[in-house]
């Protein structure tokens, strides 16, 4: 993470939908400091697995360097369920199941198809555009996963307690976004910091309940 002088911070919050409530708190310490994001569900429980990205608006900062990531297929399930990668990253799609899979995406951020296969016959897929890529298997409709492609220098997922932390966020103006596959509404939080902020705390509490999580544990011989 980049080191910059930290001016006093101001906080501005914008929700893409009025139904979403986000609470911000900050303490000005006069230098760069950690950013701690905590996400809560509608019922007050921690929101785990939410994707958080922090993009720099001013000064402009480059995105994280591309990665080589893996989206596996195990027991008729994509593993992981959500993958977050910087733009220009490559993702390998091995199939660890005995039976064949046929992976596709028709998302505008990246359209591709991997004809029916087992093992690892195809080269990695490159993701050059930012956005959310929804993955499916054309044979097994219950297989669903996402690749979040981001230009953000900082990104990650909230842990079991709903927290995600940037250890040392420099001064500047940033845009924080939060996304979750079960979110009922889009959420975007814009958060400018003028200078000299210390620890920044962002607390986001959803105003609507999540969609039900996919069912697990059903025998694989069932249809869905």
């Amino acid at each position: 993470m980049r080191e910059m002088s930290i001016p006093p911070s101001t906080i501005r919050l914008r929700c893409a939908t009025a139904a979403i409530t986000a609470l911000l708190g900050c303490t000005s310490l006069g230098h760069a400091g950690p950013l701690v994001v905590t996400a809560w569900k509608h019922d007050g429980k921690a929101l785990a697995g939410a994707v958080v990205t922090v993009e720099a608006e001013s000064p402009a900062l480059p995105s994280s360097p591309p990665e080589h990531a893996t989206m596996d297929q195990v027991n008729l399930t994509f593993v992981p369920d959500v993958l977050v990668v910087p733009v220009h990253s490559t993702v390998q799609f091995p199939n660890s199941d005995v039976i064949g899979h046929q992976v596709y995406s028709f998302s505008s951020a990246r359209r591709f198809q991997l004809p029916l296969y087992r093992g690892k016959p195809y080269p990695p897929v490159i993701f050059d555009e930012a956005g959310i890529v929804t993955l499916g298997c054309n044979i097994h409709d219950n297989m669903l996963a996402y690749i979040v492609v981001t230009r953000a220098p900082w990104f990650g997922r909230t842990d079991a307690s709903g927290k995600w932390t940037v250890p040392n966020l420099p001064a500047g103006r940033f845009r924080l976004r939060l996304w979750h596959p079960l979110l009922n509404e889009p959420l975007e939080v814009e958060r400018p910091i003028d200078a000299g902020a210390g620890e920044q705390r962002v607390e986001i509490r959803l105003s609507r309940s999540l969609r039900p999580a996919p069912l697990t544990g059903r025998p694989h011989s069932w249809d869905y």
Partner: protein, 408 residues
């Protein structure tokens, strides 16, 4: 198949010719039962009993020996074949229950089309969701699914369009289905002859099932014949809420000409129409509820004299799954009314309770224990068998199934 258009045939040929060797998937399943039953002589043996295993078929029985094969044919075509043996003196020791080729292109902009050509089940039962068109909740499917497995098979072309809303950020998927088919003109004859039954014995494509009375020349019924050269159709719609709820609607009409008889099988073209609705709801803590309803009619018109049978059945199932254990209870009601007279021979009225426990520890073994009781009032028992019309039949059945699968 005369229903195949030239375009489809051309695509199919191109696909088959250009197919590179691709690994196919196979399954082999042996299902052995231990049965105690006080059932009347089974409909499979020309009786009016409602159960597959009657009091003369107790002890260790073969539930089903099943082999299935799915073969990719190029990128978007595949072939699927299901073969089974039931060890009950059918015409062919091993026979097919389904055999079809599927065209399944990749979805574009959230929409996917699918075609199936061959012999297969219409998309109707929400309980028959396990491999081999079996229900995972009980050993014996509902009266509705039992009848579908016994008499109904699409031998034709089916098209589906899916709107994959869940891939577009929505909570719903939608599906429309339409099919044209033939070779199912006798469908309805079993309902008229013995009414509904509760069993897992699917009729094979070239096999036979029981007749209402012993006839040395034609002891069994054959169901998959084209008699009047008139194709039938069905249309359906399905809505899904995530993976939690499914609503299925289907209208079926085989458009048979009931005045036409096929002497070689000594049966008519039965004009059979029905509407079916099914709802399945699953919760995150392992509960499943399935409601199904069927309402229809079937006709024959020997010498222009029309005879109709109205039929209806409803089913409600509640299941709770805890890990590899599952308990299910189901209630079925069924009724057939011939020419508006519920007391006529050919009419019936009945209901059934099923209680089942299943243990599904992995991909190979599945164990199940089921108690099933059927109460039915069947006037034909008096006419054909000299027995009381009312019968209460019950069975206790244990199933041990071993499934092997792989690719080659």
């Amino acid at each position: 198949m005369g229903l195949l258009t030239r375009t489809h045939a051309t695509w199919l040929c191109v696909c088959l010719i250009s197919t590179q060797a691709q690994a196919g998937d196979w399954e082999l399943a042996l299902d052995v039962r231990a049965v105690t039953s006080d059932g009347r002589e089974s409909f499979l043996d020309n009786g009016q009993g409602k159960l597959r295993f009657d009091e003369d078929h107790q002890g260790i029985q073969l539930g089903r020996l099943r082999a299935a094969w799915t073969q990719p044919l190029g990128e978007v075509f595949s072939a699927h074949v299901e073969a089974s043996t039931w060890d009950d003196d059918d015409k062919n020791p091993i026979d097919l229950t389904e055999a079809y080729i599927e065209y399944r292109p990749y979805p574009r902009a959230g929409v996917r089309s699918r075609l199936r050509l061959g012999a297969f089940y219409p998309p109707m039962s929400l309980e028959s969701r396990a491999v081999g068109w079996e229900t995972p909740y009980t050993i014996t499917p509902s009266a509705i699914s039992s009848w579908i497995g016994e008499e109904i098979r699409t031998v034709g072309l089916e098209g589906q369009i899916d709107w994959l809303g869940t891939r577009l950020g929505h909570s719903y998927d939608l599906q429309l289905t339409a099919a044209v088919f033939g070779w199912n003109d006798p469908a309805g004859t079993m309902l008229a002859n013995h009414g509904f039954a509760l069993h897992d014995r699917q009729t094979t494509l070239f096999g036979r099932v029981g007749a209402p009375q012993n006839d040395p020349d034609f002891p069994k019924k054959e169901l998959f014949h084209e008699i009047d050269d008139r194709p039938g159709y069905y249309v359906g719609a399905q809505a899904r809420y995530l993976d939690r709820a499914v609503l299925n609607l289907l209208h079926y009409d085989n458009r048979a000409d009931p005045t036409v008889e096929m002497p070689s099988i000594r049966d008519f073209a039965w004009l059979t129409k029905f509407d079916a609705a099914a709802l399945r709801i699953e919760t995150g803590n392992g509960w499943t509820a399935i409601l199904q309803a069927l309402d229809g009619e079937t006709y024959i018109a020997p010498n222009g004299f029309w005879i109709d049978w109205q039929f209806a059945s409803q089913s409600a199932l509640l299941a709770k799954r805890v890990g590899v254990h599952m308990v299910a209870v189901r209630f079925d009601a069924f009724e057939v009314v011939k020419r508006g007279d519920p007391t006529a021979s050919g009419s019936e009225d009945g209901d059934a309770w099923a209680l089942a426990y299943s243990f599904d520890p992995g991909k190979h073994w599945r164990f199940a224990l089921e108690w099933l009781r059927v109460e039915s009032d069947v006037p034909a028992r008096v006419e054909y068998l000299g027995e009381p019309a009312f019968a209460r039949e019950s069975k206790l059945e244990f199933s041990a199934r071993y499934l092997l699968s792989g690719s080659f």
